[in-house]
């Protein structure tokens, strides 16, 4: 078993395949008592791989340990948002959409046009959001989808943006009522009523306090100018 600190949570975890070894390296830590224990037995990994033959056993370990972590984070006032998160000047902005829409492309364009020193990817696919001491934070985690782009840091949550492809660039604020169905498409939905209630408690606070937007964009610099200048919190 290894010890990781992820999103300020002590995670005691069993793993041994290359992807997670590499991804988890920046999160290695030490503590006396764990908050979460993640241990998928070897025979379970084999069974899961047989069920998902397009995945390697390395993929299976990476994906299912991540799923276990994000199921547990609900007990720590947190949730997963399937999104690409970019940090600029002390704020994190999350761009959420179905896979293949272009959320990583958009945050990659932020890096291209604002500079890689100014715009850093906190997690390219699965950032964690947690309420800590009454504040809403985005955390990097070892689980960042197909890319290794994640940072072991936390940043105040600046905005959540639901992204879609469009030939015309546009951005508009949306209500929590409009955001909630979109958000539920991009998080893990607990079936257990008590867990669902906890998730809704967290969403109640986070969505009340966070600017929410809908962005339609292409791959131009104009798209970056529009989204950055509209949602930035560092002015």
């Amino acid at each position: 078993m290894k010890k990781l600190k992820v999103a300020d949570i002590n995670v005691l975890i069993k793993y041994g395949y290359p992807t997670l070894i590499k991804q988890a390296e920046a999160y290695l830590s030490d503590f006396d008592k764990e908050n979460i224990r993640i241990s998928i037995p070897d025979e379970e990994l084999v069974r899961l791989q047989a069920e998902n033959p397009h995945l390697s056993i390395d993929d299976v370990e990476y994906i299912f340990t991540g799923a276990a972590f994000y199921e547990s984070i609900i007990n720590f006032n947190g949730f997963l948002l399937h999104s690409s998160g970019v940090c600029v000047n002390g704020w994190a902005y999350l761009f959420s959409a179905d896979s293949g829409t272009g959320k990583s492309t958009h945050t990659g364009l932020w890096q291209k046009y604002l500079g890689e020193d100014a715009a850093k990817i906190i997690n390219d696919d699965k950032p964690a959001i947690r309420i800590v001491d009454g504040k809403n934070y985005v955390y990097g985690t070892p689980w960042s989808g197909k890319t290794d782009q994640n940072l072991n840091i936390r940043m105040p949550l600046g905005a959540i943006v639901f992204l879609e492809r469009s030939k015309e660039n546009f951005i508009q604020p949306i209500s929590a009522q409009d955001a909630i169905p979109k958000l539920f498409q991009q998080t893990l939905r607990p079936r257990d009523p008590a867990q669902m209630n906890k998730l809704l408690d967290v969403l109640d606070k986070v969505l009340s306090e966070t600017p929410l937007y809908r962005l339609g964009c292409d791959m131009s610099k104009e798209a970056v100018d529009l989204s950055f200048n509209t949602i930035r919190r560092d002015k």
Binding site: S175, A176, Q177, I180, P181, F184, R189, P190, R191, D192, P193, M196, N197, L200, L203, D204, L207, S208
Partner: protein, 88 residues
Amino acid sequence: MKIKEGFLLRTVAGSNIVVPIGAGSIDFSGVITLNEVGAFLWKLLEEPTNKEAMLEKLTAEYDVDTETASKDIDAFLAKLREANLLDD
């Protein structure tokens, strides 16, 4: 009639939303958003009731004439039946 088992009505960031839980999440994977009257009617339907009782409670709670309230209830029930959310 009554709302099927497996749904949770909550206020989140000022919006009334219904999410499936437990058995409800097998058949229904969406999220329902309700306006104020919709949430009021949904709560009535969490216990077995009938249209007459709903009409009485709706007109007592809101400043609405019986005819309009009756149409509103019919429309709401039709939507619930369409989504297969109602046990008759």
